[in-house]
């Protein structure tokens, strides 16, 4: 007898309840409630004070360590951890406001599946909540079907290149792990790998700018993107008397602090750099000792740059020859000097010549002896820890097809995937059809020409998306796998890209707010469900690995906690005398490039596009200090500060076109057009317009971000692999700024 079997009459009920008044039998809470449990501890009194929790900010790759103050289970305040060399006690505007992400009502909360077979942006997928078992089961079942019918290559994974993702792709046998680095740091990656760090070793981001005396930037705007450590370093260097010179078509925030702002013609930085290198070499201003002890290929370089005179560079770049020579001399004779660089500067994935530009950054730094020397670019100083593969063993991976859907097998040095070519690969079904995709925290506006990718993704049978937010891309998903925020994870994080000495940051998460799962766990669960248990790491082995890490650090999490959340290794700076290349030297004419069939030395090619009568302006994409790409747009306070993005136009040009401050204008390329609010300024070249990135969300589920501003990526063409191969760039960069535009009043 009971409620659940529907046999309880009113009379029974009363009789029954009368006899069992205090019983909780009928009020059984455990089955579907049971949120609250009696607690002796809690009864004492409500929590009044604050608890400290240590963690690492996940907004950008700087990864500042933070201290969170918790009251009643809620984080009320964030501070930078003063023990962390990156945070130095501060966070940035995005970090400070990131609690808005944690407590955002729009977040994805439970796994869901679609019940509406019709797919499209703005079409209600008719989600229904499902359990994790069901969600993982659906993905595993679909993947197994696709593998059986079309082969594993018919599954495409869009995700960051974390080790567990590479492992997952290899385990199921697909070559198609599409990482975003063609739109990020691919040019710098390959330049550093071939010249300094060695194949597959990546690039450093660290710069000891604080101790530089002469800082050159070619489109680098670290301080203007809230890269705090660099902002402080530049401020401090300037205070100590350093000189800062910025080449940028736009008066960036970094340029606003510079001694000289040189509005160079976009995409021509390489010409200026080649002429500077020629000047420094021909006038014997380079660091002879550094060049002879630590480099190879100097003579080949010397021969190559002879053709690039300052007068030649002036014609291309609009920078007077005299200025090029003067700055080259100042750079080489003021020590220490450095060319600062990060990702999307002139050496980033913006122009036809960007890879060679990135190469010249390294050459310039090498010529003045600023590679891994105080005041220069610094190589990684990670703690020496055991590697996971020393503990966790897997059987050999299945051998699948080599051809990739983005055609990147044609590029011997970058196998990480390409955001520009993947959509046309899927649509052309060449070299094979793609049936399913697994996507982790990428959104459509992160791709050039997102409409093409949208079209491509709609041709697939199945899409699974893991994210924090209901982005526009999740609207195309069949299964949604919600992930937690960086506040809800735990662990010990290596200080990676910006460390002058080894440090580890303790990460203590709060209890997850929803039924979310880390993507690593999701991947292992999928493998297990697919019957690929042999590729799931053994729990005991992981435990041993974790123990070995603690032993290598000589400490425990508890000890790190009591020391303020940070483990610090040896702080003494020992300049490297050997490098990761085959010759163990900095290779100015890299053997790796030669071996793979590329010209080892930098050379100039004509830019992909030039302004013309119909499209007289060039596109410049930049980033504001208060938005991190597409990630932070749902934070109300940041949208209050700056509700939509703008297109910066030179005042005189605007006058000609009768455009006033705040007018909405159309910005049009051959790929697409967007409507943006105009901002007039004298701080930009008259032949350029600049648009900041991150706006133009179409996903209505992100209620704050939706419909605000426009996405400049809609102006940038995607490519077929054939088109990509026309640019002789070993890095296959996406060329985000090789776009010409027309503008007119809306």
């Amino acid at each position: 007898m009971g409620v659940k079997d529907n046999t309880l009459s009113r009379r029974d009920f009363l009789k029954f309840s009368g006899g069992l008044l205090a019983s909780s039998f009928m009020l059984d809470l455990d089955s579907d409630l049971g949120f609250l449990v009696p607690s002796a501890e809690a009864a004492a009194k409500p929590e009044k004070g604050e608890k400290k929790l240590y963690g690492e900010c996940g907004i950008c790759s700087m990864g500042c360590a933070y201290i969170a103050y918790v009251q009643n289970g809620r984080i009320v305040r964030l501070e930078g951890n003063p023990k962390d060399q990156i945070a130095e006690g501060k966070l940035c505007v995005k970090g400070y406001s990131s609690l808005n992400i944690l407590y955002d009502p729009d977040r994805l909360k439970y796994p869901m599946k679609r019940t509406n077979p019709q797919k499209g942006i703005g079409v209600d997928p008719k989600w229904v909540k499902i359990t994790w078992d069901e969600a993982i089961g659906m993905v595993a079942k679909k993947f197994k079907e696709v593998i059986a019918k079309d082969g594993p290559q018919a599954i495409v994974i869009f995700a960051r290149g974390k080790p567990h993702l590479k492992h997952f792709a290899k385990s199921i046998g697909t070559p198609n792990l599409i990482i975003h680095n063609s739109a990020c740091d691919v040019t710098h990656d390959i330049a550093w790998e071939s010249m300094v760090t060695g194949e597959g070793k990546g690039r450093p981001f660290t710069g000891d700018y604080e101790n530089s005396r002469y800082i050159l930037s070619f489109g680098w705007d670290g301080p203007g993107k809230s890269k705090n450590k660099w902002g402080r370093a530049i401020n401090n260097a300037l205070e100590k008397g350093a000189k800062l010179v910025v080449f940028d078509p736009r008066l960036s925030i970094t340029a606003s602090k510079a001694h000289e702002w040189i509005p160079i013609k976009p995409g021509t930085d390489l010409a200026v750099l080649l002429a500077m290198i020629r000047t420094i070499i021909n006038e014997n201003l380079f660091d002879q000792e550094f060049i002879s002890n630590y480099t190879t290929g100097f003579n080949e370089l010397k021969v190559r740059v002879q053709q690039y005179t300052p007068e030649w560079a002036e014609k291309i770049s609009d920078v007077p020859a005299g200025k090029i020579v003067r700055i080259a001399r100042e750079f080489a004779t003021t020590k220490p000097a450095v060319v600062a660089s990060h990702k999307r500067d002139a050496g980033g994935p913006l122009y036809s010549n960007s890879f060679r530009t990135a190469q010249c950054f390294i050459i310039m730094n090498t010529l003045v002896g600023s590679i891994d020397r105080p005041g220069g670019r610094i190589l990684d100083r990670k703690p020496k820890l055991p590697k996971e593969d020393e503990f966790v063993k897997y059987p050999e991976y299945p051998k699948g097809v080599k051809e990739r859907i983005d055609g990147m097998e044609k590029y011997p040095l970058t196998k990480k995937g390409n955001f520009s070519t993947v959509a046309q690969g899927i649509l052309s079904k060449k070299p094979y059809p793609v049936k399913a995709a697994l996507i982790w925290k990428y959104n459509l506006p992160s791709f050039p020409n997102r409409l093409r990718l949208e079209e491509a993704l709609k041709t697939l049978d199945f899409i699974a998306v893991s994210d924090i937010y209901p982005t526009e891309l999740t609207e195309l998903a069949d299964v949604v796998l919600p992930e937690g925020t960086f506040f809800e994870g735990k662990g010990l994080k290596e200080r990676k890209f910006h460390a002058m000495y080894p440090q580890m940051a303790l990460v203590e998460g709060i209890k997850p707010l929803y039924d979310t799962k880390g993507f690593k766990d999701v991947l292992y669960s999928i493998l297990e469900k697919m019957g690929l248990k042999e590729y799931v790491p053994d729990k005991e082995a992981l435990k041993a690995f974790s123990k070995a890490k603690d032993e290598a650090l000589g400490t425990t999490k508890e000890e790190i906690r009591s020391n303020g959340g940070i483990w610090t290794g040896d702080k003494t700076f020992k300049p490297k005398t050997e490098f990761g290349t085959p010759s163990k030297k900095i290779e100015l004419s890299p053997s790796l490039l030669k071996e793979k069939g590329f010209d080892p030395l930098p050379y100039w090619i004509e830019p992909k596009v030039m302004p013309n009568k119909e499209y007289p302006y060039r596109l410049i994409i930049y980033r504001t200090p208060w938005q991190r790409m597409m990630k932070t747009q749902n934070i109300p306070v940041l949208m209050e500060i700056y509700p939509e993005n703008t297109v910066t136009i030179h005042s005189k040009e605007a006058e000609k076109l009768n455009i006033k401050e705040g007018d909405y204008i159309w910005v049009e390329s051959t790929t697409g057009k967007i409507k943006v609010k105009a901002h007039l300024s004298e701080g930009i070249r008259p032949d350029c317009v600049a648009i900041d990135h991150g706006f133009g969300h179409r996903g209505k589920g992100m209620t704050v971000a939706f419909g605000k501003g426009s996405n400049e990526g809609d102006l940038v063409p995607d490519m077929t692999i054939g088109e990509m191969l026309k640019n002789p760039d070993p890095a296959a960069n996406s060329m985000w700024n090789e776009v010409v535009l027309k503008i007119y009043k809306a």
Partner: protein, 245 residues
């Protein structure tokens, strides 16, 4: 001890950390700000400069807003800050007209749903996020905002100018302006370029009616008009008090 903030405009990177930190520390209503960073462009291409300056209450030694406030909702503390008591505020907005820096903002949203509210920096006198001290100074990642005792900050400002005489303008904005303020500014560009106008060294007010007229001759009529309104509203208030009694 006199509280003070030293703002070094040359170090500001326009990141808005101060704006965001201020809002969450003080629970400032959506759409309102107690501090905001503005860009100021000067010159013509290619010899153009952009400077960024944070604007907020200067906490004058002799605050015109306090003098103008008919109900003592605004008041000067011993630490030098100008604080605000929302309970007393009648929403007359005299303070907004009196302030030589146009600082106080009327919070239309809150004023409509609750009671009149002026948004203005109060040196974080009533933080709601559990933190102590001045939120903007704590948040600023670049050392552009420094918190300290007024004499110390003046000393610091002087020594910065001394160390880089060819860089900084030889002037501490706020040391003498309107009789001195608790907020001091340093800049490498003329203060006029970042909307820190030459407001003179004389305090704006001891009595708001006359001083407003003296301070801004062009708006004498406006000042008289406001004084009139003030008289009327005082009178009304007195009358209504009478009725209640």
């Amino acid at each position: 001890m006199k509280k003070s903030l030293l703002i070094d405009i040359s170090k500001c990177l326009a990141c808005y950390s101060c704006t965001v930190a201020c809002k969450s520390a003080n629970g400032v209503t959506k759409g309102s700000f107690r501090t905001f960073v503005h860009p100021y462009e000067s010159g013509a291409y290619p010899n153009v400069r952009i400077n960024y300056a944070k604007h907020f209450c200067k906490h004058c030694k002799e605050p015109a807003c306090v003098a103008a406030c008919p109900v003592q909702a605004l008041y000067k503390t011993e630490e030098g800050s100008v604080e605000y008591n929302n309970k007393k505020c009648i929403g007359c907005r005299y303070c907004m007209y009196a302030c030589p820096f146009s600082v106080p903002l009327f919070d239309w949203h809150k004023s409509q749903i609750e009671k009149p509210l002026i948004q203005k920096c109060d040196f974080c006198a009533h933080r709601v996020d559990g933190g102590k001290g001045l939120a903007c100074a704590q948040a600023c990642p670049y050392g552009a905002i420094m918190e300290g005792e007024l004499d110390k900050m003046l000393e610091e400002a002087r020594s910065r100018i001394q160390n880089r005489p060819d860089f900084y303008i030889d002037h501490i904005y706020g040391e003498k302006e309107v009789g001195g303020t608790s907020v001091l500014y340093l800049s490498s560009r003329p203060f006029g370029e970042v909307a820190l106008a030459d407001v003179g060294a004389k305090p704006v007010a001891t009595r708001s009616e006359t001083s407003m007229a003296g301070m801004l001759p062009g708006v004498t009529i406006l000042a008289l008009f406001l004084a009139g309104i003030r008289w009327v509203s005082h009178r009304r208030e007195e009358l209504s008090k009478g009725k209640e009694e």
